[in-house]
Amino acid sequence: MEVKDIKIKNMKYEDFKDNETLESYVQELRANGVNVAVAKIDDLINWGRSNSVWPLVFGTSCCAIEFMCTAAARYDFARFGWEVTRNSPRQADVLFCCGTVVHKMAPVLKRLYDQMPEPKYVMAIGSCTISGGPFKKSYHTVMGIDNIVPVDVYVPGCPPRPDAMIYGMMQLSRKIKMQEFFKLPKQPATPQGETAEGGEA
């Protein structure tokens, strides 16, 4: 029986635009030999993790409003177990970066990311977070948050529709589902002692 696959219940396999990238990743995992017993436990844990992702909303501007629509009655991301938005980074799994990040905000974002416990993910919502978007010519905008924190999923748009955000969430669900949980970093690998202890709290 195959271990590790990228199918999720919330969205059909065929509906994803790009399956190849993750498939090749899975192939690689299998080729390197996955211990069946460990992988089964992995799968069980990941099944739980990918269906109850707790986001930290880092909403600075316009995209945050579309995020609110995603959370409200019509699009309702509670259907996928994403609704427990945390206001403390110490309780969150994924950082939703909705909105422009500027110079003055950059250290704040970095700090919040550092305070999140491992394993942690980042979603960059909107063109601003991807590349500076409409503010490419500005003196004060950070041209893409990947200059500051590593990003797992990019959702383009200005602002992206709630459907697009949900698509991004599903992509992240798949990514979480196929990871080897026991090989993920356990503690934040940052020099600041403060954040390492925060991961436990």
């Binding site: 945050a64 609110m68 019509r74 206001n87 003055k104 905000m105 704040v108």
Partner: protein, 545 residues
């Protein structure tokens, strides 16, 4: 107007140019304070409302334009201008003792142009970090990213709390003094910039005595995107896309204001059809914005259901926008000369179905929340803002109207199709949190009335006037006001006849609202702070621009 003419006659040093209801008054730097205080403190007609202070850089000189109006005759505007040749250490007299709104405006001009306002006790930068090098809106600003790299550390709190004051002593020597914002023993709580209820990235430092708020220091700039500087490198048709993204909740209205300003400058005739469509879209935007404001305020008080209800009804408007404009939150609809494209064939039908639906839901909202004893207990008697304070702070929009200040630009200076609609300006007199809350729901009702009157009478014709391929504004300064959903939005464009503007300034209605928070929350309990913020309904990216 005779009274204004008389007033201006008392300033022999001033150069006056009149354009309709606007007076351009240029005074020498030394007489600035005298002129300002004469306009403010005279018995006949007090110019008690300072709309904005616009900093400008003419290349050789730096200057500031004070936009003033009188709450009694709000349709008259005085633009008081003064210039200084000193680019090294420019100074001007401060007017903070005349208008409460002036302190943030002066800090903004200082931040962008490096002008020091003498005797203003707080000459910190407003948006940028205190260690930022250069003054970005000056024409000779060096935008080399190496000078100002992305910081890795949070801003130093010491630097944030150090208030410099600049003044000139009797011998004409410049002195700089420093004060501390908070005493050493004071108990200071940080609020934001990452907080679910700041409505954006706002940072407040709150000094407490037990539960009672002693002082609030708002700290802006966590979402300062430099839009005004970018506008100087964009052509006129490109700029509206940035305006949408400033105050995204009332972006369509603000964009409309910008288009009106450019059309006025070009003397472009806009068809009635475009006027009607714009007005209807504006009112829908206002409803959507008030619904969100209402929901968020209720959410801030702990009523999540209300938030969900507000968002549910807002989605109906988003659907209408999407069908006609192609976008939900950012419809990108008005353009110079009219609107981007004609309305969808189903637009009228959908809007007409929306109006009775919204009326019904509004009733439900009132039952759900307005009459709720818990909500009333929290809102009643909290956060008093007097009419005089509101005017002096420039707290326009529903906030000012809840205190009894009649400031609706749709009435003062009817633009677009508002003159064809019969509607009331909602006014209340108590100026308490509950008034600010309920006035938004009342305004939704008025907006529905406006829409109802216009929707069946949209005239035929083209929806967009023809414009030249390259739009160049004639030389001069242009000014337009519109009533955004959070307050008065002003556009100031200074043109040198190029295809790029020389200077664009937007008045942020939300900045004055945060300034208001600073005044009304002091003396109250810390637990009310969030709710007061919700009742003022500000949007932070609008402040930071």
């Amino acid at each position: 107007m005779k009274v204004i003419q008389d007033l201006l006659a008392q300033m022999p040093y001033a150069e006056v140019v009149r354009q309709d209801k606007t007076y351009l008054v240029t005074v020498p730097k030394e007489q600035l304070y005298a002129a300002a205080s004469l306009l403010k403190n005279n018995e006949k007609l007090s110019f008690d409302y300072l709309n904005d202070i616009v900093g400008i850089d003419n290349g050789d000189s730096l200057g500031a334009v004070y936009i003033l109006s009188a709450s009694q005759f709000p349709s008259y505007i005085i633009r008081l201008k003064t210039l200084t040749d000193d680019r090294e250490q420019p100074t001007m007299d401060s007017v903070i003792d005349l208008w409460l709104s002036a302190d943030l405006y002066e800090r903004e001009v200082h931040d962008f142009f490096g002008i020091n306002f003498l005797h203003n006790p707080d000459m910190r930068r407003l948006f940028l970090r205190q260690d930022w090098k250069g003054y970005p809106l000056r024409k000779d600003y060096d935008a080399n990213p190496e000078l100002n790299p992305i910081p890795t550390e949070n801003e130093n709190l010491e630097a944030m709390e150090d208030l410099p004051t600049v003044d000139i002593d009797l011998n004409g020597k410049r002195r700089e003094q420093h004060q501390k914002l908070f005493e050493k023993e004071e108990y200071v709580v940080n609020f934001g910039p990452q907080h679910p209820s700041t409505h954006g990235a706002l940072h407040l430092r709150v000094s407490l005595d037990g539960e009672i708020i002693k002082k609030i220091d708002p700290n802006f700039g966590y979402i300062h995107r430099g839009i005004e500087k970018m506008c100087e490198t964009y052509t006129y048709p490109q700029i509206p896309h940035l305006i949408d993204r400033m105050d995204y909740l009332s972006g369509t209205i603000h964009r409309h204001g910008y288009c009106l300003a450019v059309e006025k400058a070009l003397q472009l005739e806009v068809s009635d059809r475009a006027h009607y469509i714009r007005t209807i879209i504006d009112e829908l935007t206002r409803i959507a914005s008030h619904l969100l404001g209402w929901g968020c305020m209720a959410n801030d008080m702990g009523a999540i259901t209300a938030f969900i209800y507000g968002m549910r009804d807002r989605e109906k408007i988003m659907d209408i926008f999407e069908q006609t404009c192609g976008g939900r939150l950012m419809p990108n609809y008005s353009c110079i000369g009219g609107v981007m494209h004609d309305i969808h064939p189903e637009f009228q039908k959908k809007v007409k179905a929306f109006v009775p639906y919204m009326r019904k839901m509004l009733k439900e909202d009132h039952i759900l929340f307005t009459g709720n004893p818990i909500a009333r207990d929290r809102m009643d008697g909290v956060g008093y803002l007097s009419k005089e304070q509101a005017i002096s702070l420039g707290a326009t929009g529903p906030t000012g109207r809840a205190s009894g200040w009649s400031n609706d630009v749709r009435k003062i200076e009817p633009y677009a199709a508002y003159r064809h609609a019969d509607f009331k300006e909602m006014l209340r007199s108590d100026g308490l949190t509950f008034d600010r809350y309920v006035i938004r729901l009342d305004e939704i009702e008025e907006s529905l009335k406006i829409i109802e009157q216009l929707i069946d009478n949209i005239p035929g014709g083209a929806c967009c006037a023809k414009t030249k391929a390259i739009i160049k504004l004639p030389e001069g300064e242009f000014f337009q006001r519109v009533e955004g959903s959070h307050g008065e939005f002003d556009v100031f464009i200074s043109s040198k006849g190029e295809k790029y503007p020389w200077r664009v300034k937007f008045r942020s209605p939300c900045m004055t609202l945060v300034n208001t928070l600073k005044h009304i929350a002091v003396g109250g309990k810390i637990a009310d702070l969030i709710m007061l913020g919700g009742s003022l309904d500000y949007v932070v990216p609008c402040i930071d621009r």
